[in-house]
Symmetry: C2
Subunit: 133 residues, 2 copies
């Protein structure tokens, strides 16, 4: 089930974001494929160096971030996956697009854009343990 | 050169937007592939019906829109293309992500997100005629 593997990659992205972990963030972005990123209010960043530098700057001085990904849905376009979702961060809500490509056997991020939304986010999802029972 | 074909599709998108033409807009979105769209401040729209209805609403009552796409760059991910660019619209500037898939021999849109940016947009590009000379 590629959708499940993509959802796992998307969870790993928000986990790295939440832990403000630049190494984990670097590991999940694509190496061979061209990458780009548009942070809320920011400019268009292109290339792995510019994108990873932006995450370093976001994580600088922070030991963690309160971010919750809600209502994520995976749409497969062959070897590319588009995840659309909401991000609840410091009480505000963003709408986000996350793109992944299947590279070297794993789904790696190639693009991220998040921007403010007036939409109410979906409720938090139950933790994996709770979903099992 | 697929990049050129994608740039052409991206120009067609902004042309349909500029002319507030719902039929042209409908024709350039993918039919088989799953589609999604996040307008500035809006919710995550998924599925062709919801996406096209949103463009109908945007175009309702307008005979045209002043929108200028600047600094567009195409990144190919196999059969999927990611275009990142700036949109200058009614004096404001947005940063945008446009995704296209190669479907039935043409590049069709599968995802669009635009959101406000504090970045200064690149200068307008010369018209095709000017570039020829």
């Amino acid at each position: 089930m590629p959708e499940r593997a993509v959802a796992f990659a998307n969870d790993a992205f928000y986990d790295a974001f939440r832990r403000a972990d630049p190494e984990a963030m670097a590991a999940l972005w694509a190496v061979s494929a061209p990458v780009s990123c548009i942070h809320p209010g920011g400019s268009v960043l292109r290339g792995r160096d510019a994108v990873l530098a932006s995450w370093h700057a976001i994580f600088a001085g922070a030991s963690s971030a309160e971010i919750d990904c809600r209502g994520a849905q995976v749409a497969l376009q062959g070897e590319v996956a588009v995840v659309t979702c909401y991000e609840v961060i410091r009480g505000g809500t963003l709408a986000a697009s996350n793109l992944y490509v299947h590279e070297a056997g794993v789904w790696r991020m190639v693009h991220h854009q998040a921007g403010p939304t007036a939409a109410a986010p979906p409720p938090p999802e139950p933790a994996p343990d709770a979903r099992m029972h």
